[in-house]
Symmetry: C2
Subunit: 348 residues, 2 copies
Amino acid sequence: MSLDPSAKALVPFVSVDHMMRLVHHIGIEKMLADLAATIEDNFRRWQSFDKTPRIPAHSDVGVIELMPTTDGELYGFKYVNGHPSNTFAGLQTVTAFGLLADMRTGYPVLFSEMTILTALRTAATSAMVARHLAPKGAKTMAVIGNGAQCEFQCLAFRTLVGIDEVRLYDLDPAATEKAARNLAGTGLRVVSCKSPEEAIEGAQILTTCTADKKYATILSDNMVGPGVHINAVGGDSPGKTELAEGILHRASIFVEFPPQTRIEGEIQQLAEDHPVTELWQVINGEAEGRTSQDQITLFDSVGFAVEDFAALRYLHGAIQGTEHFVLLDMLADPDDPRDLFGMVQRAA
Amino acid sequence: MSLDPSAKALVPFVSVDHMMRLVHHIGIEKMLADLAATIEDNFRRWQSFDKTPRIPAHSDVGVIELMPTTDGELYGFKYVNGHPSNTFAGLQTVTAFGLLADMRTGYPVLFSEMTILTALRTAATSAMVARHLAPKGAKTMAVIGNGAQCEFQCLAFRTLVGIDEVRLYDLDPAATEKAARNLAGTGLRVVSCKSPEEAIEGAQILTTCTADKKYATILSDNMVGPGVHINAVGGDSPGKTELAEGILHRASIFVEFPPQTRIEGEIQQLAEDHPVTELWQVINGEAEGRTSQDQITLFDSVGFAVEDFAALRYLHGAIQGTEHFVLLDMLADPDDPRDLFGMVQRAA
């Protein structure tokens, strides 16, 4: 009897280092486009997924959440934390990892870091949604909040929407400098701005991705004119919003999964029956997206398990034939499945 | 700027191989006793835990479940599947892994295989509970169902309860032979039996741990006489029970977490308001355990998140100073937390 674990007992693991190498192997813009395509494909078959709001564990300083979903064939979940005060301790506000498993056997088939992958899928989702909602020919995007998500958004909108100018603003000029430095050489025209008002000048798309866990007003009502698309990324948990309520009353609001967005999104500010459109229906052609030039469209993004599932499914394919993973001895797999004790005993 | 991950970005990982080495390093009976002590300690402070029924994803052939809990300082969850048909494919019916994280930062502090650890904690929990409920001086235990859990139960009851004879029965004689072979030399007197009736002869403790996902009658009403303690391990999911209903009406029933046990345990056969006693109250001295010699006590075990939390907490301490883990590069941790993109960019 062999003590070596069998192939099924070994789970491919994509570390942070592997993920970074994979991004460069594929190319970040191609990876954003591939991710957007997979996410769009999974939105199109929305009704094949088991959907449930994420399962949170809250503390005074943050939250740890599990986000599971399944399409009946594969099962995926993400572990993600949100701890705004981490930044002051030199830690990431958001870290994540996730897993994909085979529903027929319950055996995991992929385990991966998802801090970087979440940043990529969030930006890919935003840009994919903007292709359906933003005004045609949009070339300029304002990005208010220049933290960890900012550059990913900029590149995704360049690749998928055709944005050629990004106008950056952050309360902390050092964050804007960091983003501008990182975006130099990407082909985007980068304008660092001294105020949110300056940032939104001439922008057809307004992206908000700030990190503070509070009711904030990143965009006030008078800043939002007719015809823009708002990509509201940062308002994503109870007590954390970015838009003045007045904007919400003037906008057509599009969401991922209403039961979750009503708790976590900008629309937590509104009545529970305020009308929203589900994005999967727009993507499917079952509901209308943008219907007029003057319409304000709002993607009230909170991030949903189906996007992570799609990202893991894409990753599972993308690592095949590469060296960008290792095999983890994660599953006990005795020769005789009933002889777990004997396996342990023989390891002596 | 360093590309090496910082210490906090590296998560200790205990593989299956590490776990087996750790079991031998500590000694399996000591480890069972240590686990029982930690689990008992966590039951004693039951009210400090966030408790929720596990979150399942069902298919025709099995289930994948997430079991999270937190005591406010640490957060733990287990991923576990249950696929009875896996055995025929040479796979484990149940595999598991789990994670422990710091609630203050959301950063994981331990990632581990939990197939072996679950087998250990399940047996440790059973034996710890039997110390509170089984008749004093019990020396003989019947074990019906001689699959993966059987030998762990036998050793835990030897170490923690003082059992010196185990009487084994399984529908498949090969399973009994396997268990008897593994238990040779442990100091237990092992009697292989040809029927459940033979197995229960003279036994003060009846352990059932069969694997079939159906309503089964492993113990019929007339097999259970006064004064015994029943340790019902196998009836642990909807549609999966082991005891004749008549037994339940004659027994004092003790459970881990009633909302979960009413769905998953033997008591799914009973009315929703059938009286049960919560084990944490017995352990705390707030409720009575065994009150008479003739009483039939039943531990309707289904396994609860607090037990896995306790096992992970124990493991986190047990690996310190050993070589029985590796560090996984699981968390992206740029020097500047807001510069995730720059970190990816610089890896080129």
